[in-house]
Symmetry: C2
Subunit: 487 residues, 2 copies
C-alpha cells in the first residue's frame, strides 16, 4: 500500500476503497470547525466533522469566548453603551493591528461583515447580555458582554481609528466563555445534521490531479479513506509542537505556557502538502496577566536596563509581547502603595524589590544609580501633568507613581505565566480557500482559524477576540464555499 503521510497527499487512484463519503469533510472541532460545519450543512451539504479528541473544544474551548466585533455603526451592545463604530474605523484598526503582516482583504471583508456575523452568532443561540463593563479587563468576572479588549484607545492605534470597545463576550459567569460558546455551536451543528466523528486524527489529504478529493483519517487505529468534495482544515496552530516552534518561531522558546489542545500544526502540514503556503510563521501572541488586579494597569514597565519600552495603556498582550523583545531574563512592573495589591498566584510574578523611594528600588534590583531613577523621575514629573511625552500613555491609566513605599514585581520569561499561541499559518483568501505558493486556490481545500494567518497576524497588534472573530467568520466562509465545491 502507498505510504500515508502528513507531508504528501495520497493519490486518489491508489485509494483501496472509500470507507466513508461526504460532501464536506471538516478537520477539527473548535469554533472554526463548528462554524464551518453549520454553514456547510445549512447550505445543503452532507458534512462530516472529525475531531482528534473525544469531544469538541480545541483551543477555542480554552479561550474566554470573546469575539472582536464592530463597524457598520456599531453593534446593539456598543450603541447601548454609547459607542458608535464605523466600518472604516474598524477596518483601519484591524489593519493597524495586523502591522506588517496585515491581510487587507481579510480586514476589509470582516469589517464589512462583522455586524451580520454578530447577528448570525446570536441566531445560533450565543447569548449576549448586552452590558458594557468599562476598565482594563482581561475577561469579565461577571456576565457582562462588552469590554475594551484591545489597544483601541492607546497610541498609536488611537491616531489611526476612532476608538470603540469591541470585545463581545458570550454571556457567562466568570472566565472561560469559550467552552459554552463551543457547546452552543456544537449543538447547532448537530441539529443541522452534521455527522461528528471523534477520536479521529487526520493522516493525509487525498488528491486527484490538483484537486483535494478526500482525507485519510485514523479511526480505531485504522486508516479510513473519506471521500469529500471539499476538505476544510480547522486544526489550530502549532503551539504544542516544539520542533515546529524551533524551526519557525524560536522566540517562543523564551516563554513557557503554550495555550492549545493538541495544536501541533497538523492542518498547516496538510495544507503545505497540497501545495499551500505558510506565512508569518514567526508570529505569536503572548500575555502575562499583569493587569490583575486592575490597579496594576496603572503600573510602569521597565526592562533590566531600567528603561520603559511601551505605553502601558495598550492591550495587555501587546505590552507582554513587547516584554519578550526585551534583553535579559524578564521585566519589572513598578507600582506604588496606592496601586499595589497582591498579584494572583497563577501569574507567578514575584516581588523583586521594595523601597521608600525609587532610588532604593533601583538599588535593590541591582541597577546602578542613574538608571531606574531618572526613568521614574521623568515619568512622574509628566504624569503629574497628565501626560507621557515618551510613550504617550493616556489618562486615566496614566498616573504618577509617587506614594511610597514602592514595589517592583518581576515578570520572568522562564518562570512567570506567559501564555502564548502561534499566529502563523496557511495563506488563505478572504473566501477561506487555501492558496498555493503561486497564489491560486487549491481546488477542494479550505482552511480557517489558527492553522491560517488571518486577522490576528501580528503578535504586537493582537487584541482579545480577534482570533475567535477570525475563526468563526472565516470558518463560516470555509463551510459555505466548501459546500459549493460539490455543485
Amino acid at each position: 500500500m502507498t505510504e500515508i503521510s502528513l507531508y504528501k497527499p495520497y493519490p486518489a487512484a491508489e485509494v483501496p476503497a472509500w470507507d466513508m463519503e461526504t460532501d464536506v469533510a471538516i478537520i477539527g472541532f473548535g469554533a472554526t470547525g463548528a462554524c464551518a460545519a453549520i454553514e456547510a450543512a445549512q447550505a445543503g451539504a452532507r458534512v462530516m466533522l472529525f475531531e482528534r479528541n473525544s469531544g469538541s473544544g480545541g483551543a477555542s474551548g480554552l479561550s474566554g469566548g470573546e469575539i472582536y466585533i464592530g463597524g457598520n455603526g456599531g453593534t446593539d451592545v456598543q450603541r447601548a453603551a454609547g459607542f458608535s463604530d464605523t466600518t472604516e474605523d474598524f477596518a483601519a484598526y484591524l489593519k493597524a493591528a495586523g502591522g506588517p503582516c496585515a491581510d487587507d482583504a481579510k480586514c476589509d471583508a470582516y469589517a464589512i461583515g462583522a455586524l451580520d456575523h454578530f447577528a448570525w452568532l446570536k441566531a445560533q443561540g450565543v447569548p449576549y447580555k448586552g452590558t458594557y463593563l468599562p476598565g482594563k479587563i482581561i475577561e469579565p468576572t461577571g456576565d457582562d458582554t462588552l469590554i475594551w479588549s484591545g489597544s483601541e484607545a492607546a497610541t498609536p492605534f488611537r491616531h489611526v481609528a476612532k476608538p470603540a470597545p469591541r470585545g463581545h463576550v458570550i454571556q457567562h459567569m466568570g472566565w472561560g466563555g469559550g467552552r459554552p460558546l463551543v457547546d452552543i455551536l456544537e449543538k447547532r451543528a448537530r441539529e443541522s445534521g452534521v455527522e461528528v466523528v471523534v477520536d479521529a486524527r487526520a493522516l493525509a489529504l487525498v488528491q486527484d490531479g490538483e484537486r483535494i478529493v478526500g482525507v485519510v483519517m485514523r479511526i480505531d487505529n485504522q486508516p479510513r479513506f473519506v471521500k469529500a468534495a471539499a476538505v476544510v482544515l480547522a486544526t489550530g496552530g502549532f503551539v504544542m509542537n516544539e520542533a515546529m516552534r524551533r524551526k519557525y518561531a524560536p522566540q517562543t522558546l523564551r516563554i513557557n505556557s503554550p495555550i492549545g489542545d493538541k495544536d501541533d500544526g497538523t492542518g498547516i502540514e496538510l495544507g503545505i502538502s497540497a501545495g499551500g503556503d505558510a506565512i508569518h510563521m514567526d508570529q505569536f501572541f503572548t500575555t502575562c496577566p499583569w493587569t490583575i488586579p486592575e490597579s496594576h494597569a496603572h503600573g510602569v514597565f521597565v526592562n533590566v536596563k531600567g528603561q520603559r519600552f511601551i505605553n502601558e495603556d495598550c492591550y495587555h498582550g501587546r505590552v507582554s509581547r513587547t516584554m519578550v523583545d526585551q534583553p535579559g531574563h524578564g521585566v519589572y512592573l513598578l507600582l506604588d502603595s496606592a496601586h499595589y495589591q497582591q498579584a494572583p498566584d497563577f501569574a507567578r510574578m514575584s516581588i523583586a524589590a521594595t523601597g521608600d523611594d525609587w532610588a532604593e528600588v533601583e538599588g535593590e534590583l541591582g541597577m546602578l544609580p542613574g538608571t531606574l531613577t531618572p526613568t521614574m523621575d521623568f515619568y512622574n514629573a509628566h504624569a503629574r501633568e497628565g501626560r507621557d511625552p515618551l510613550f504617550d500613555k493616556q489618562p486615566p491609566i496614566l498616573v504618577p507613581l509617587d506614594q511610597g513605599p514602592f514595589i517592583a514585581l518581576e515578570l520572568n520569561f522562564e518562570t512567570s505565566y506567559f501564555s502564548f499561541f502561534t499566529l502563523g499559518g496557511l495563506k488563505t483568501s478572504a473566501s477561506a480557500e487555501v492558496l498555493s505558493r503561486a497564489g491560486t486556490p487549491i481546488p477542494g481545500l479550505f482552511a480557517a482559524g489558527r492553522c491560517t494567518s488571518g486577522l490576528p497576524a501580528w503578535g504586537h497588534g493582537y487584541s482579545s477576540g480577534m482570533s475567535l472573530a477570525d475563526c468563526t467568520f472565516f470558518g463560516r466562509a470555509a463551510g459555505r464555499n466548501a459546500a459549493r465545491a460539490n455543485s
Copy 2:
C-alpha cells in the same frame, strides 16, 4: 504538455526528451555553485553549472570576499598575528551567533572543518596576504587579510568563547573582494571540466517517485530538460522578491537597500516544491556603514526615546539589526568633536542636531529634558571609569563623549543606506542534503548558501564572512555528496 512550474516538480515520466544529460546539475554560479561544481567535478562527476545571468557572481560577487575561519588552533594568519583559536571556542561562537536559530550540527561541522577548508581555498588559488589589520573594519581598504569581522570581543559573545579575529579576506586592494574570489573559483571550476551554461533560468525540478532526477531550464526562451543524478540548488536568498519578503520577512520592508543579484527565492521555491522545508524565513542581515570613518565606532546610539539599546562595540551589523527593532523612524549616532568626521555620502546619514552640550542636542532633536541627557550623563560618568555597566561596551571602543560641540547623526530606516539580505531558507543537513518536512533527505537534491538556513541563521548574530563561509563550505559538501548520488 504538462505544465512546467517552479511550485511543482515535473514528472520524469512526462519528459518529452532529455535535451542534456549530466551527473550533477548545479543551479546558480555564485561562490556556492562554484565550490559545489569544483568538488563534484574533482570527484569524477560530469557537472553542468547553470547561471541565470550572463556570467558568474551572484550576491557573492557583490560581497567583500570575507570568509569566517578559525578553530583547530587557528589559521596561519591568525597565529602569525598572535591569536590562537580552539575548535571549541569557534563552535561556541558560531552557536551563539546563531542564537535561537542555530543549527548545532552545521556549527560543529564547520568548526571542525574550517582550517582544512581554508587550505582548500588556498589550493584553489585564493590568495591571502597573511597580514592582520586591527580595529573596527568593515572591509580593508588596503590588501590586508585578517580582520575582526564579528562580535567576538563584545558582550555577550566574549563570555561564551575566547575572542579571536576570524574574518579572512582575499588579498585584494580595497573593497569588493567577492568579485575576484568568484573569478578564481570560476577559473578552477572551468579547469576542472565543469560545463558552464549562462543565461539559463531554472523553471522546475524533475522528479521520479521521491527522487530528483533533473531540472527544467529556460535557455534561448525554450524549456530544456536536463537529466542529472543530482541537482544542487545554489540560487541565493529572496531579498529581491518583495512579495516573498512581505509574506515571510515583512520587517525588511522598513529598510531600503537589498543586496542581491536576482535573488528572488527560486531555489527555495524549487526545494519546497520537492517537499523541502523552509525555516527561519523572517531572519535577515542588515547593516548601515556607521563605523566609517572608524572614529565613529566610538559613538553611542540612542533610539527616538533617547535610550541606548546595545553595546556599540559589537559587530556593526548586529548594532544595525538592533536599530531596526527600535520604535520610530530611525536612530541617532551620538558623537563628540573628538570623534566626529564627515560620514561618507553613500551612507546617507545626516546631521540631525548639534549642541554645546548634550542638553542642547536633546532639545534640537525635539526630545524633552530628562531623556537624552541622563542617558549621556550616565554613559559618560562610567565611560570615564572605563566601564559601561548598562550594556558592557568595552575599552578601547568605550570612551566618554564629552568634548563639545556634540553631534547627532540620524540613521533613518527609510532613507539612510541600510543594506540587507535574507537568511531564511531550506532546511538542509550538514551534508547539504535538502531535508523534507519529515526531516529525511530528499534523494538527489542538495542545496547550500543563502537558499538555505545555514551558519548565518540569526540576523542579530551575523558576522561578516559567515555567509561566504557557509556558501563555500556547504557548497563543497553539496558538490561532493551530489557526485556520490551517481554511484
